[in-house]
């Protein structure tokens, strides 16, 4: 099937005796927003880490477009057009917003092993960095040092940096975590907008946001894939309700 952009086959990751990701086989379709949900410790973040190359799998394979990327390091995966944001804010704290996005944008400029040309003369990088900032709504903060911004803004910066790398596929690990309602709404809108021309794999706990954006849902429990389907299918699934959604609803 040509509209599958990324797939994992029997992917698993062992930490000592614990199977963090347990033989997960998932297809991610082009242009969809594919949300992965599950209780804490279900292995969602580990899965993202495997996809982005931050972790090497114990077994199984990962395919992106026509290529196997199972053992590729994060930098090469990024260059293939897979961008990611982190659950725990992962930025350059002592850089300004613009500089954060600058470094992201510069990575698409071919090799940066250039020693004599001033970086500031790379016009395309300006464009990318500013576009990233603009899309994430941070244009006014361009010259603020990242560590001086609020937590929510740092989360936005996280996304802005990812966008500055102009990825095709976005791996978003709880982008709404720690955000206020207003910011969360903004970011949800942004994800919606991004979904128009990007494939998105999203981990999120905020169920309102999840159902607002999801095309496909995968439920993970204890590292294994419990079920994959449309939001309606998942809502209707008995197994999911028992294992997860039911409890979650009960909490509300």
């Amino acid at each position: 099937m040509s509209d599958i952009i990324l797939k994992t086959v029997g992917l698993y990751k062992q930490f000592g005796a614990l199977s963090a990701v347990d033989h997960a086989t998932i297809d991610f379709k082009q242009s969809e927003v594919h949300v992965i949900i599950g209780p804490n410790g279900a292995g969602k973040t580990t899965l993202i880490n495997l996809l982005s190359g931050d972790l090497l799998p114990t077994g199984g394979t990962i395919h992106y477009k026509d290529q196997e990327i199972t053992d590729l390091p994060p930098d090469q995966i990024s260059l293939l057009g897979i961008g990611r944001s982190y659950q725990k804010t992962n930025i350059f704290p002592e850089f300004t917003c613009k500089e954060n996005c600058w470094l992201a944008g510069q990575s698409r400029q071919g090799s940066s092993m250039k020693f004599f040309k001033a970086a500031s003369r790379l016009k395309e990088v300006h464009v990318r960095a500013e576009k990233g900032l603009e899309m994430a709504g941070l244009t006014s903060q361009a010259n603020t040092v990242a560590s001086a911004m609020s937590y929510g803004e740092q989360r936005q910066l996280e996304i802005a940096m990812m966008l500055a790398t102009e990825p095709d596929l976005l791996l978003l690990d709880e982008p709404l975590a720690g955000m206020g309602t207003e910011e969360a709404t903004e970011v949800t809108k942004l994800i919606k907008k991004l979904s128009e021309d990007h494939t998105i794999i999203l981990i999120e706990h905020d169920m309102d946001a999840v159902f607002a954006v999801a095309d496909t849902l995968t439920v993970m429990v204890n590292g294994a894939v419990l079920e994959t389907g449309t939001p309606e299918q998942i809502r209707a699934s008995k197994a999911v309700q028992e294992a997860y959604l039911g409890d979650e609803d009960g909490d509300h």
């Binding site: 002592e94 850089f95 004599f116 001033a118 790379l122 940096m161």
Partner: protein
């Protein structure tokens, strides 16, 4: 005046003082200044690693010392070797050494990086220390200074202290501007990113190991350049130049001056050398030198270092910055 302008003013003043050096300095101080400028280049090259890339190398002296030995090896006893030949050979040798050491070292990080660079430097140290053909622990002499010229035509006579001074001065400025350029280039952005957050830099699509290796080679080669100048000016090379104490001292210069500014490293070299020249190593022998505390200058050096670490962690440049900030505010108030 803004803080930045004041800093620039200070720097230009500093360069002017250096440029006029031989006009007002006695021979001894001219040579001391040469030594300090060489140390400044050496310290800047380490600042590139420590202050900009976040790689704490505890074996940087290996390149400094290796360069001296290479110069000694390519200089025959009977005649000088043209600088056009010896310098490239020395720099290439240091670059290769840095590539090999770097290839091993950049795989590690943190404390392990510190220790593995130390280990490699120690290997080099012991190699030269125990190689009788290269003078063993006593070191070797370089009988002839590099020839700046072609055949019989001599463009600069390095036996002349003033000529040597300006060669080293030019080397200092060139090194500074070269590093500035590199730091402003795309490459510089990446290594700063590595220092700030290596993991994120990698996730953005940079093969950080390659960048670290390249920066290690650049720093090692520049340390070699400093070592070349040192050996050319002093005419003697010895394993002491590769000793871990020497690596430790250059780290101290960088911290004392202020990391991540380049010129801070040069200030560090000047401040420490001048202090040492004035106060340390001198043992007052009369009337009763043994009771005089000057004999215990190591004690004071140790206390000085600890006080600097505890009280001025960001180095002399941070003090200057504070002063110029205060001045800037005063100006604003007017």
């Amino acid at each position: 005046m803004t803080q930045e302008k004041i800093m620039r003013f200070i720097l230009i003043g500093f360069v002017a003082i250096l440029a006029a050096g031989p006009l007002y300095l006695e021979t001894y101080y001219t040579e001391l200044f040469i030594h300090m400028m060489v140390l400044g280049i050496f310290a800047m090259s380490l600042d590139l690693l420590i202050g900009y890339t976040g790689l704490v190398s505890f074996g940087h002296a290996a390149f400094f010392g290796l360069a001296g030995y290479l110069l000694a090896i390519v200089t025959p006893e009977t005649e000088p070797t043209a600088i056009w030949i010896s310098l490239p050979v020395v720099l290439a040798g240091c670059a290769i050494a840095a590539a090999v050491i770097g290839w091993f070292s950049v795989r590690t990080s943190g404390i392990y990086f510190i220790m593995i660079t130390l280990a490699f430097a120690q290997m080099f140290f012991y190699y030269f220390n125990e190689n009788n053909d290269l003078g063993g622990s006593d070191g070797m002499f370089i009988s002839n200074k590099p020839l700046v010229g072609w055949g019989d035509f001599q463009f600069l006579d390095l036996e002349n202290t003033t000529s040597l001074y300006y060669l080293v001065f030019a080397g200092l400025l060139a090194s500074y501007f070269l590093l500035r350029t590199i730091l402003n280039a795309p490459f510089g952005q990446v290594i700063k990113g590595i220092k700030a957050n290596e993991h994120r830099t990698k996730a953005l699509g940079y093969n950080t190991q390659n960048y670290k290796l390249v920066v290690f080679i650049i720093a090692g080669t520049m340390a070699g350049f400093a070592g070349f100048l040192e050996a050319a000016s002093s005419g003697i090379v010895s394993p002491g130049n590769l000793h871990w104490h020497h690596s430790g001292i250059v780290i101290m210069l960088v911290i004392l001056g202020g990391m991540g500014t380049l010129y801070g490293a040069v200030f560090g070299a000047f401040i420490l050398t001048l202090l040492q020249d004035k106060y340390t190593g001198m043992v007052e022998l009369m009337p009763d030198f043994m009771s005089g505390m000057a004999d215990h200058w190591h004690l004071f050096q140790g206390i000085f270092i600890i006080l600097v670490v505890l009280l001025v962690p960001n180095g002399a440049v941070s003090l200057l910055a504070k002063i110029s900030q205060a001045l800037g505010k005063k100006e604003d108030a007017k």
